[in-house]
């Protein structure tokens, strides 16, 4: 981990902060897309070191937050079946569906297990041929290759008792949805480093050109984020809108080709509902026709479930960077991590939870530029 300490060096971070202050001449709003970055920003207090002119808004990049409530309800329905072992990453267990969460299903006797890799779920299926093993395949481009590998392996092994509940989402279409919205206030993006490590960043130049926004591929350590913000603001100040790569130690233009191939073999691009935002065309991954037999929603017949959100929750606006969590009337009172109204209060990467956990007061906004 010597690697990490370099990127948490206080002197270097503060040096960038000073350079940023010297550089900036007017207010700018930048969105970090990824929930991991949101978490790091709040945890290390990167935002506290920024000049007042620079406002960070938080993006839709938390897979737990954007998984639609219908799919959570489907997961809960499947996990409650007596012959099912339901496997999920830890984060998902606390997300509220319309009635309850997966932890409550577990407490009521459902066999819900936390796994670290989808391949663990495949192994469980081999070990328990008499049970149905279901894996909750959520996440962005980062988790999709491993999930694809699990499905491919299950097919090779001829497993009849393994299936996946798929709710994969893709980042670039979400960025486009935000940019094309009339209420958009995002002027520059920090693109998610981990996503680009898999996918590369060849999808971004058309976006940057069409909407005239700088996009900086950025890592997750405080120094990465500070440098990414600096690069983004520099472009904005200079009137440029290009795609730059701050995270060159992990990200190449073309990304990880074998991982992309695996994804393409098992998944295809589909329209996808985003919790709190709505449907975004071509923004998700679903199983290809050849792999339909591994679709848990079909196998257990739960595709009919429809559900409504808490009317109080504004997490859709939070996810699009239109509102801050602290602007939500329910924040910290009717909505807390123990009693979340929306998914953004649940996941450790959710913006509402990060604000709550680190009690982040609203920063005074920079004065608007005079017309």
């Amino acid at each position: 981990m010597r690697f990490i300490d370099e990127y948490r060096d206080a002197a270097a971070v503060q040096q960038f902060a000073r350079a940023l202050t010297a550089l900036v001449t007017r207010p700018w709003t930048i969105m970090e897309v990824c929930g991991g970055q949101t978490h790091a920003i709040i945890k290390f207090g990167v935002d506290e070191l920024l000049p007042r002119e620079v406002t960070l808004v938080h993006g839709p990049g938390c897979p737990v937050c954007v998984t639609p409530v219908e799919i959570i309800d489907q997961a809960i329905a499947i996990a409650s079946l007596p012959h099912v072992i339901f496997c999920s990453f830890g984060d998902m267990l606390r997300v509220p569906g319309t009635q309850k969460d997966l932890f409550s299903v577990k407490a009521a006797g459902g066999d819900v297990r936390m796994v670290y890799s989808p391949l663990d779920a495949v192994n469980l299926a081999r070990a328990h041929p008499e049970r149905q093993v279901v894996f909750f395949a959520v996440g962005f481009e980062t988790t999709a290759p491993a999930n694809a590998m699990a499905v491919a392996r299950a097919r090779r092994l001829g497993l009849k008792n393994f299936s996946v509940l798929v709710s994969h989402v893709l980042v670039p279409p979400a960025m486009e949805a935000i940019l094309s919205s009339p209420s958009n206030r995002v002027q520059g993006f920090l693109a998610a480093g981990h996503v680009c490590a898999v996918m590369g960043y060849h999808e971004y130049p058309p976006l940057a050109a069409k909407y005239r926004v700088p996009i900086v591929v950025t890592g997750f350590e405080p120094l990465d984020i500070m440098q990414g913000i600096f690069m983004c603001v520099k472009q904005l100040e200079e009137g440029r809108h290009e795609v730059e790569n701050q995270y060159a130690r992990s990200v190449r233009y073309e990304g990880n080709r074998p991982a992309q191939q695996l994804m393409q073999e098992v998944f295809e691009v589909v329209p996808r509902q985003w919790r709190g935002i709505g449907e975004i065309p071509r923004s998700g991954l679903g199983l290809r026709a050849e792999y339909q037999e591994f679709d848990a929603a079909r196998r257990f017949g739960v595709t009919y479930l429809a559900a409504a959100e808490s009317p109080e929750c504004i997490s859709g606006l939070v996810l699009q960077g239109v509102r801050k969590p602290s602007e939500c009337p329910a924040f910290g009172t009717r909505c807390t991590p123990e009693h979340p109204l929306g998914a953004t209060m649940v996941s450790s990467e959710g913006a509402c939870a990060a604000y709550y956990r680190y009690r982040r007061p609203a920063r005074p906004a920079a004065p608007s530029p005079s017309p």
Binding site: R2, R8, K43, G45, S104, V138, G139, T333
Partner: protein, 351 residues
């Protein structure tokens, strides 16, 4: 850095109306805390319990005694650096030591699952015997129950203990003073990550060994040197963060800790990074925080470093004047933030 009104917690925060007990109710975070505050404390209200300490200090015939109990349901039973037997002895010995007491006698109750190999039980008992000898306590009474196969995790242990206070100090959260220095006796997070690694079959380059150890000798060394110890707290479930937040909330004092001063071993840090855990919240079984007046901090540190299990002692922060009851942390990059109690246990992140 005062929290503005709309960020203040509702107090008491309503216990989330779960109709059933969840694992998180035992995780050492906010839900455990709420369960205790809203269910157990009101039911049994008395001055010893109200002190909110790891053990109770009671007076019997002019003697001040400390009394504590804890149950151990750890899975797996054996892990690098320890096992359920030594853990059960250290845990109660440490709770007594946190009251400033010299631990004397323990009881042990074992709940065994039908089918547990006798050899396993033998190893656990031998480990308890060894740990008791090392901590200078005697196991003087006990109980054994057997439950049907499938109704337990092999072996559950409960230990209770009695210790004696040989000094007039009141070592408790209420004695914490502004300006107190907070000392820590070594690196954080090893027990939790050792258990995690074995339980979940995660392999890291080196095996992470639990820090499980008795702390009474270290505490006795401080007291015998007449250090004016204000409060002691061992950092078990919930880790350093939860322990300090509990004290800060109990006495309504703010504390400031320095992230850069808190030692975490590289392998533990790497494991935490992979799983998305914060070492501040990871469980320890041989670590404690010591609150002493600043004027005695250097001397206390020197004593701790010479004591068994205190080689890595360091200062990590101090108690502030302000009275919001918040734990603040100066992050590695020099920004201030609040450290809050977790809702349940930490969960591995998704990406």
């Amino acid at each position: 850095m005062n929290a503005p009104q709309d960020f203040a917690l509702q107090c008491p925060v309503p216990l989330r109306d779960y109709p059933q007990v969840l694992l998180a109710h035992g995780g050492g975070g906010r839900l455990s805390h709420q369960l205790i505050e809203s269910l157990f404390l009101p039911a049994f209200k008395n001055p010893a319990l109200d002190a909110r300490h790891d053990g109770a200090v009671v007076e019997i015939g002019g003697l001040r005694l400390a009394f504590s109990t804890d149950s151990y349901v750890v899975r797996p039973l054996f892990f690098p650096g320890g096992d359920i037997g030594s853990l059960a002895v250290h845990g109660t010995v440490n709770d007594l030591a946190m009251c400033g007491a010299r631990p004397l006698y323990l009881s042990v109750a074992a709940i065994l699952e039908e089918g547990v190999p006798m050899e396993t039980l033998r190893r656990v008992v031998a480990s308890m015997q060894h740990a008791a000898a090392r901590a200078g306590v005697q196991l003087v009474t006990g109980d054994t129950k057997v439950v049907d196969r499938g109704k337990g995790d092999g072996i559950y242990l409960n230990t209770a203990g009695i210790g004696i206070l040989e000094h007039g100090r009141r070592i408790a959260p209420a004695s914490v003073q502004p300006g107190d220095t907070i000392l820590l006796n070594g690196d954080l997070g090893r027990h939790g990550m050792a258990i995690m690694a074995v339980r979940e079959g995660l392999s890291f380059e080196s095996a992470i060994e639990s820090d499980s150890a008795p702390l009474a000798a270290l505490v006795m060394a401080l007291l015998e040197a007449d250090i004016d110890v204000h409060c002691l707290r061992d950092l078990t479930r919930g880790g350093l963060a939860s322990a300090l937040i509990e004290i800060a909330e109990a006495v309504r004092r703010d504390m400031l800790i320095e992230e850069a001063a808190i030692p975490v071993r590289e392998d533990v840090r790497a494991a935490c990074e992979i799983l998305g855990f914060d070492p501040l919240y990871v469980a320890n079984e041989g670590r404690l925080a010591v609150f002493v007046p600043e004027a005695q901090a250097e001397r206390a540190l020197a004593i701790m470093r010479r004591a068994p299990g205190g080689e890595g002692s360091c200062r990590i922060g101090q108690v502030l004047d302000s009275r919001d009851g918040l734990l603040k942390l100066r992050s590695r990059i020099g920004a201030l933030r609040i450290v809050d109690m977790l809702s349940g246990e930490q969960l591995p992140r998704i990406c």
